[in-house]
């Protein structure tokens, strides 16, 4: 990236090859639209060139590129005004503790389908933090930096989002 910053834009091709799949996957998990996700990946690299001077080697490149991606994803979300099926957790009376064979519950294709639906019922921010948490190279301090909160807050948000996903999943399963 530092070479791109110094004007060697050919290196952008290498960055693209290295990060395109992870970026596409991030966008797709957020909007479930392959065409839009591809456009957003393209926009990430346009922004990289535009803001290359703001990058310093003190920052981890993955965190920087995902901060750009996150902002694009957020803008896209606001534009499309997708209907969010936010669930009021207080209305969910189902008790997770009553499940005995928890691990066995997550085994079938049907469960994966249910989980996909459950993911879509999370808020944008919840889905976002879980998707970012998937990137093993990113520490919570960096995820916090990407989404604009402290490291501790990022961990708490991720924990809450995962718990909520779990609860929604079992609510859907029960139906």
């Amino acid at each position: 990236m530092l070479k791109v910053k110094s004007g060697d834009i050919e290196k952008l091709g290498l960055l693209y090859e290295r990060y395109k799949k992870r970026l596409f996957s991030f966008f797709f998990q957020m909007n479930h639209n392959a065409a839009i996700s591809e456009d957003l990946v393209q926009n990430v690299f346009i922004k990289i060139l535009k803001y290359k001077d703001t990058y310093t080697d003190e920052r981890k490149f993955l965190a920087w590129i995902f901060q750009i991606a996150r902002n694009l994803s957020y803008d896209n979300f606001n534009k499309s005004k997708n209907k969010q099926n936010n669930i009021d957790l207080e209305k969910i009376t189902y008790k997770i503790d009553s499940i005995n064979n928890f691990e066995e519950k997550f085994a079938t294709k049907e469960d994966v389908t249910t989980l996909k639906i459950a993911m879509q019922k999370l808020t944008f921010e919840e889905r976002e933090i879980l998707t970012l948490s998937k990137l093993k190279e990113l520490k919570y301090s960096e995820i916090g930096e990407i989404i604009g909160c402290s490291e501790g807050s990022a961990r708490i948000r991720a924990h809450r989002a995962l718990n909520k996903l779990k609860i929604i999943f079992f609510k859907l399963e029960k139906r």
């Binding site: 004007g7 060697d8 834009i9 050919e10 290196k11 952008l12 091709g13 290498l14 693209y16 090859e17 395109k20 799949k21 596409f24 996957s25 797709f28 998990q29 392959a34 996700s37 591809e38 990946v41 393209q42 690299f45 346009i46 060139l49 997770i96 928890f102 691990e103 519950k105 997550f106 469960d111 994966v112 989980l115 996909k116 993911m119 879980l130 948490s133 998937k134 093993k136 990113l138 520490k139 919570y140 501790g152 961990r155 991720a158 924990h159 995962l162 718990n163 996903l165 779990k166 999943f169």
Partner: protein
Amino acid sequence: MDIKEYKELMMDYVTGKLNEEKRVEFEHFINTNPESLKEIDHLRSIWKTTDELDSPEPSIKMDEKFYSFLDSERATKRNPSIIKYVKSLLIFPDLNAISGKLTYGVIVLFIGMFLGNKIDSNIFNGIQNSENHNSEVEEVRSQLVLALLEQPSANKRLQAVDEANKLVEVEEIVINALFKTLNNDPNTNVRLATVESLSNYVNLPTVREGLVKSIIKQKSPLVQIALADLMVAIDEKKSIDSFKQLLNKKEVNETAKQKISQSIQYLL
């Protein structure tokens, strides 16, 4: 580890972000605390299942769009607008303060300096930079070839082979990918195009060797004939044994067998 630290680190553990030392410490804690172990198991199970939430592969259009964007950026960078340079000189902040003839004098001086610098850089630096530039283009093109060869569409794979033909110095990884295509691609046209592409690098011993090894793997008479022609053209006598093995195969087409026999005669 206490309960506070456990709470802090639980998401790092579940998402695989803990280092080895902390992970061992964390596991020791949960193994001695059944309630925590249960909680972690629940989170870990659902987290593991989210791995199944796969995304489709991005289409080749995304690559095409990106590389055309990169090309246009490259072109813009190579040919900066002279008008922009002049304009940038004209908006020199102190220029308005300078009056009449002096203003024009300064402008002419700057334009002269700019043009002199421009000509100098075009003639001297340009030559120096072109070598670096070319190697970067080669690198990006190699990446494009590798990406396109993996595409499910035969047209895209043909495009990859076409791009490979534009490479001046081919990397080993590209050669290997081309051989993988020659030996395994389900499409005959792609394999034929690959033979042609690899014929550009027959000066490399590894390519000659790879082509010889590939003869016996080919099932299409068209590819067999193309390889026979190529081996004759480069006078590769090591291919004779492979062709003889091919002749012994019942399934080989008669026309191909005739061509192969002729080629063996030429090579002997």
